[in-house]
């Protein structure tokens, strides 16, 4: 079983990385959006391997079912974006490469330095959605509410920006 899990991990990682690279390098914006769907879906697979089924389902439901669809909508509604091959160039390529690399190195260093995690998904037992809910309503109540308010503010802001003033 261990062997199958690790091979599944490698396959998923390969799919995630390939689709992530294709996402930022393809010339057709719609294809980029579809590869984003594939990338986020594979991340859900990683969550399944970590026994975090609730997170996996939430990942698919939110990122595949809502966020990606909104992005595809935005692509379709934007003029001169569909049916056109757009050159994907970034003038600050070197800078962004440096930023990405430093972030990756920092994250890897931080993870490898941490020896004792507070909570591990597979230690929480089979029904970890129950425990997740309890923690969200008790210990992590404040961050949860702050994020909710932030999302609400972003939504209202988007509506305010998109709404045309009646003259």
């Amino acid at each position: 079983m261990e062997h199958q899990i690790s091979s599944a991990f490698w396959v998923l990682s390969f799919v995630i990385l390939t689709s992530a690279i294709l996402l930022v390098s393809l010339k057709n914006v719609f294809h980029c959006a579809l590869f984003m769907v594939l990338c986020l879906f594979s991340v859900a697979g990683i969550f399944i391997l970590l026994d975090a089924e609730f997170l996996a389902a939430a990942q698919v439901l939110i990122y595949v079912g809502a966020v990606s669809i909104l992005m595809i909508f935005a692509i379709m509604l934007t003029n001169n974006l569909t049916n056109r091959v757009i050159k994907q160039t970034n003038e600050n390529g070197l800078v962004s490469l440096f930023v990405c690399l430093s972030f990756a190195v920092g994250a890897i260093m931080l993870i490898s330095k941490t020896h004792s995690w507070n909570y591990r998904a597979n230690e929480l037992g089979h029904d970890n959605s129950l425990i997740l809910g309890k923690y969200l309503m008790t210990e992590f109540m404040l961050p949860f509410e702050v994020i909710s308010v932030l999302l609400l503010a972003a939504m209202i802001g988007a509506i305010a920006l998109a709404r045309k003033e009646r003259s």
Binding site: F54, A57, V60, G65, I72, S129
Partner: protein, 355 residues
């Protein structure tokens, strides 16, 4: 020997199968994989037969509600009409648009079809008759069915046709909007059961008929009705079938598809209708619970086909909503009602005013 999880009703079949396979010298792991494959084939065949039957049934009900006979030529009351239709669609030339987006155009019906079938992994067909009982069961179904929306958008975009694109966006907007009231109605059930596993949801409604969730007054019937409305919209059926609207518009996302690709969209639509009906039966009508002299899977099928029948009656009774009315109904009526109902259910659960 371990068998696929909880297929005890099919136990003799799988014991026989594993005996045969082990006599050929396969390892236990291979036998398990083959057993799951056989189970998948069984589910696929059963669902395809159900989809073909639903197409015929829909045509018959439509015909009889309009004082017609419907299909009559092939067999008794045309019972194998849809089989003939399927064979015809298989033989048809696959007409493709020259300027299509080849990969997207090809994968859209495949994803739609697969997403429709994936939900049945956690569907409790009867007592001990379920492929796998995930502890996130119902959430899993909601998650995999969102792939339908992606498939609709892919079909609309890949066809490189402005009507298909508009149709795809219309369908996607509708499905995304109605998913919120649908999930909010389902949440009232989850709130009471305290678990998202489909088996737990069904067993919590066992006992007598008033343990069914639809009879949990006052929020149960409200949740059922809002769920049914949202589910009708999710399955793109009249009165919410503006994505199709064959009498008024040039269909929707599927206009550039022909032959088997069209058939895949068509079958996926009927499978989706069966899925939402099966969910209604499982969540609100007690699933496979019933008098024990009728087998549990028969109860499940009876309840599900009852909900399907109701949806078909609704389809041929009510006029369709305009697209702006559709959106207004979802956001200004259904969403507030379902959330108020959810809060009401939470208060009742917290105060303990229920049986």
């Amino acid at each position: 020997m371990t068998f696929p999880v909880a297929v005890l009703e099919l136990y003799p079949l799988f014991r026989w199968l594993s005996g045969v396979l082990e006599s050929f010298g396969f390892s236990a792991n291979t036998v398990l994989i083959i057993s799951y494959a056989v189970l998948g084939v069984i589910m696929f065949s059963a669902l395809s037969i159900i989809a073909l039957f639903l197409v015929w049934w829909e045509r018959k009900i439509a015909a009889h509600m309009q004082q017609r006979f419907g299909p009559m030529r092939h067999g008794w009351h045309g019972w194998y009409q849809t089989i003939m239709d399927a064979i015809k669609l298989l033989q048809k030339e696959d007409v493709r648009v020259a300027s299509r987006d080849k990969i997207v155009y090809f994968w859209a019906p495949v994803i739609c079809f697969v997403a429709a079938y994936l939900a049945y992994i956690v569907m409790p067909w009867g007592k001990n008759l379920i492929v796998a009982d995930f502890n996130i069961g119902i959430l899993y179904i909601m998650a995999v069915t969102t792939f339908t929306v992606i498939a609709l958008l892919m079909a609309g975009w890949g066809s490189n046709n402005k009507y298909a694109l508009l149709g795809g966006m219309r369908s996607a907007a509708q499905v995304v909007s109605y998913e919120i009231p649908m999930v909010a109605s389902i949440l009232t059930v989850i709130l009471f059961v305290g678990s998202m596993s489909m088996v737990d949801i069904v067993t919590s409604q066992s006992g007598w008929i008033f343990n069914w969730f639809i009879f949990k007054l006052p929020f149960g019937p409200i949740a059922f009705v809002t769920y049914l409305i949202a589910a009708t919209a999710e399955a793109n059926r009249t009165p919410f079938d503006i994505p199709e609207a064959e009498q008024e518009l040039v269909a929707g996302f599927n206009i550039e598809y022909s032959g088997m690709k069209f058939a895949m969209f068509f079958l996926a639509e009927f499978i989706n209708m069966f899925t939402v009906s099966a969910l209604a039966a499982t969540l609100f009508l007690g699933g496979w619970n019933g008098w024990s002299f009728i087998p549990s899977w028969a109860w499940f099928l009876m309840k599900t086909f009852g909900v399907v029948f109701l949806m078909m009656l609704i389809r041929w009774t009510y006029p369709r909503l305009r697209v702006d009315q559709l959106m207004e109904f979802a956001w200004k009526f259904l969403v507030p009602v379902t959330f108020a109902n959810l809060i009401l259910a939470a208060v009742i659960k917290y105060a303990g005013w229920h049986w």
